[in-house]
Amino acid sequence: MPEGLRPARLGSRFTVGSRLLQSRHAKRFEEFLFRYREVTLLAAGLCLGAYFQLMTGKLLSNADLLNLSQIMAPIAMLACPTVLLIASGEIDLSIGQTFALAPFLVHFGQQAGIPLLLADVLAIAAVSVVGAINGVVTVYLGVPSFVTTLGTFFGVNGLTLIISSGEPVGAPGTGLYATIFGQNWSLIIWAVAALALFHFILKHMRWGLYCVAIGGNYEASREAGIKVDRIKIGNFIILAAVSGFAGILDAVTVNITDPLAGGSAIMFSAISAVVIGGTALAGGFGTVVGAFIGAGVLALLQDGLTLQGINANAFDLILGIAILSVMIMNVTLSRHLLGRRRA
């Protein structure tokens, strides 16, 4: 039997700087970068933070860190369960819309005399139905999830606009409720809870393992006896529920229930966070920690550029460059190290 393929064997076509890379240390370093993409991203984020602090001197103030955490938290809350879905080879574009819809359902539930906490639960249950629709249409009718959730993206947005008449309303809850469910630092605490929960599910439970297996090889997973449909539909439902919950919290944070909250902006931010974090968009690999850090980096970019007084257009340009750089690095490293390119 031949010796196992060494993962770090370098392709001969990488001649530029190959002498440098041939050293054992460089190889190790490359492996390290790939295996701990989260650490690399965290280092980049810290450098970015240091840069903004040096340039503006404002970042490390209590007020701005709070602001930063409130930008980051909703992105992170949506990104964490999105990792499971993307690792399993699907995508959901409707998460920003369930995010916007849920607090309105709470509002109208309250108006109908339902106690606040019960109204929350009912609203989350209602938006979970959107997740179930996403899942069932994708899995049983064979519509690609990109298309299914593009449909619910518009549909749910329309629903929110209709029931709200396009007008914002007040935020639900005050006092202790608001302290727990959204005000000040509570939002980021919820996000950390989501990080812990979904990291645990991904790395330490069958569900997470099966998500990766399905995204890696759908046919093999079915052959092994994994209930692939159940996992996929479950992921859509979990994601919709969490996005609804995040939307309810966010309404309390910003103290307004706005039909234009969420939407495509937060959806793209969450998916970007997942991808920058190192999760394979084609499925088969996921990291919740990476997505969480990714959400932090995106929030930091947004917050820092605002502190510097740079306008939103430049933000998009920089974000685009950041995503491309990280992805090119990921793809190149994984090709190197896993020997995927068998010349």
């Binding site: 039997m1 196992g4 330490h204 439970m205 997973s221 052959e223 006896g225 088969g284």
Partner: protein, 252 residues
């Protein structure tokens, strides 16, 4: 090799199995029997329905019509897990491995060791230790059990697939061309594993294209043609050449 007595009881029977994929008739009323303790070879050209039959016998596919009997009783194999719970296990033609997952994760895919209780946590260390034993039992050297399966050679991949099925005490093992992607040395390893399982009393149905292997491993054979059994026979007395002649004769 302790061959099964010709009158040993019937273990698994398929009767009148029909399976269509759209307009393609993969199985056309196929009937076959597996005796307890025997190694049964399935031969036949490409695309005659051999894999489809095994997938039905393992609950992966549902037949359009036809019945399956286990120990003489009609069973409807709901899914792969159900078949496995009845002691029927399979190594698929494509080995059913996930390249991105590690060797350990693949060996235990859908057979994970978990803690009990409402929240079942994967017992990764226990699985790792068990995987080492299983790999040793299969008799193949693998570099690191944490390595993704995508980096393995064909023979090593086959070993992982075998390690997956030998962990449970199965009654029936279905093997879909287990020797297709492996070299001569590894083929011998696989053959030894099958022989050992057989010696432990496991009944085997194996699809093979190499008639030398059929002579080596099997006691009885079926030749499948056009979704039906075209010929049945005992391997005893056959050489590879006479087997090939028999297979060719069924085409006339």
């Amino acid at each position: 090799m302790n061959s099964a007595h010709p009158d040993s009881p019937l273990l698994l029977e398929a009767e009148g199995i029909v399976k269509q994929f759209g307009s393609i008739v993969a199985l056309n009323g196929l009937s076959m029997k597996l005796r307890s303790g025997e190694v049964l070879g399935l031969l036949g050209d490409n695309g005659v329905g051999k894999s489809t039959l095994l997938k039905i016998l393992t609950g992966y596919l549902q037949p359009d019509t036809g019945t399956i009997r286990l120990d003489g009783e009609v069973v409807r194999l709901r899914d792969v897990q159900h078949a496995r719970s009845l002691g029927i296990d399979i190594i698929y033609q494509d080995l059913a491995l996930v390249d991105q997952l590690s060797i350990v994760e693949n060996i235990f895919l859908n057979r994970e060791a978990t803690t009990s209780g409402p929240i079942r946590v994967l017992r990764r260390r226990a699985m790792r230790r068990a995987a080492e034993d299983l790999i040793e039992r299969v008799g193949v050297k693998l570099p690191s059990l944490e390595q993704p399966v995508g980096t393995l050679s064909g023979g090593q991949r086959a070993a992982v697939a075998i390690a997956r099925v030998v962990q449970t005490n199965d009654r029936v093992l279905l093997l879909d061309e287990p020797l297709a992607a492996v070299g001569v040395r590894e083929a011998q390893t696989v053959i030894d594993v099958v022989r050992n399982l057989h010696a432990e009393g496991v009944s085997v149905i194996v699809i093979l294209h190499n008639y030398g292997h059929v002579i080596d491993l099997c006691e009885r054979f079926y030749i499948v043609r056009d979704g039906q059994i075209a010929e049945e026979g005992s391997v005893a007395g056959h050489t590879s050449e006479s087997l090939i002649a028999t297979v060719l004769a069924t085409r006339l």
